[in-house]
């Protein structure tokens, strides 16, 4: 935090370093994507790229997480996702039950691994 002398400097950092590089893509998409109609071939390609990008972001959170989750073995993280997906399909595609089952697997495994 040596470069930030206070609240005002931090706000400036949020706007210039955080907000502008993020918002520019959203604004550009509205300007450049005006002609893209739902269901067109171009739309389908853009949607496939967006889906793959989002999946990659989620994948990174599983394969190379930060903080306390990184302490859990990769095998436990993958097994927990697998349990979550299995329960999701078994319980009439319930996001709630699938996520709870995945969490239970992770926390149970963490308790077992780390005591």
């Amino acid at each position: 935090m040596s470069t930030l002398s206070g609240e005002a400097a931090a706000i400036l950092v949020v706007i210039l370093v955080g907000f502008l590089p993020t918002e520019v893509w959203r604004a550009l998409a509205i300007v450049a994507g005006r002609k893209v109609e739902a269901g067109s071939e171009l739309f389908r390609w853009v949607k496939a790229v967006a889906t793959a990008l989002l999946a990659a972001v989620v994948g990174r959170l599983i394969f190379t997480p930060a903080g306390a989750l990184a302490e859990m073995p990769l095998s436990l993280r993958l097994a927990s996702v697998a349990v979550g997906v299995a329960v999701f399909f078994a319980c009439r595609r319930s996001i709630l039950l699938g996520a709870l089952a995945g969490e239970a697997m992770l926390l149970g495994g963490a308790w077992w691994f780390l005591g």
Binding site: V14, P21, R26, A50, L53, A55, G59, P65, A66, G84
Partner: protein, 258 residues
């Protein structure tokens, strides 16, 4: 509950979250959008932002600027990079570049949801305003819910959903600031795991009957271990643009053959 054995004469009832009334006021549409934020994805978002609040507190970021980052940046991965970069003392131009590259996904995501943010009459400024709310949760839930909303209700519905998700996230950021350091490590790991596990399920649910969505999902997820060493956003480019294009081409080939 199993379906009744004898088929009823009238058409089957619509799923409970299909909006059928077309004569609601904009405020009522906004209320319906906001109501959809009180959901599992909303809880996941809250948990994710608790983690971010703790991270911001940990690097000594001021409270108000941290709240502003949620309001303005509104993209958890970019905010995590910002907090991590400030903690590590990264040069600000390099940090801006890293955030810009990590946020590139917002471009195709916004293009893909924009057709559902348009009413019967095109309004550029309303589209631009709605685009600010595009982030993981809004995108996944918006793509699922907005096509069922009649054209004139979509902007109000999107703003209701987006603002409610934002309010939940601001509450999470604030809670994280105050809880920072209080969470036991196992619980902290559980909070961090909530986002990937629930988004995996939400994306599987959204893939539905479109094979291309499944291929794109698999390509994005499964390519991660192979590109993880690459830096500067190249990993996301390969997974996203490469994987997405392959999924699109295979999907188109199979559709044309069918």
């Amino acid at each position: 509950m199993p379906p009744p054995v004898s088929a009823p004469a009238e058409p089957p009832p619509l799923p409970p979250d299909v909006e059928t009334l077309e004569t609601l006021s904009p405020l009522a549409w906004a209320g319906r959008g906001a109501r959809h934020a009180i959901s599992v994805p909303g809880v996941v978002l809250f948990a994710g932002y608790i983690g971010l609040g703790g991270l911001l507190h940990g690097v000594g970021f001021p409270f108000f600027a941290g709240m502003l980052s949620t309001l303005l940046i509104w993209a958890l991965p970019a905010q995590v990079i910002l907090a991590g970069g400030i903690g590590a003392g990264t040069a600000l131009p390099a940090l801006a570049l890293a955030i810009g590259l990590s946020s590139l996904r917002l471009l195709p995501m916004t293009v893909a949801i924009a057709p559902f943010l348009r009413g019967h009459r095109r309004n550029f400024w309303a589209e631009l305003l709605c685009s600010h709310y595009v982030a993981m949760t809004f995108w996944v839930e918006g793509l699922r819910l907005l096509p069922k909303i009649p054209g004139e209700g979509r902007v109000a519905f999107a703003l209701g959903l987006g603002n409610a998700l934002l309010a939940i996230s601001l509450a999470g950021t604030a809670a994280g600031f105050f809880l920072a350091g209080e969470l036991p490590p196992i619980l902290a790991a559980g909070l961090l795991f909530l986002t990937p596990v629930s988004f995996s399920l939400m994306m599987i649910r959204n893939a539905g009957h479109d094979l291309m969505d499944w291929l794109a999902l698999a390509a994005g997820l499964l390519s991660v271990p192979f590109v993880v060493g690459l830096s500067g956003g190249a990993d996301l480019m390969i997974s996203g643009i490469g994987g997405g294009t392959v999924a699109y081409l295979i999907g188109r080939f199979l559709r044309r053959r069918a």
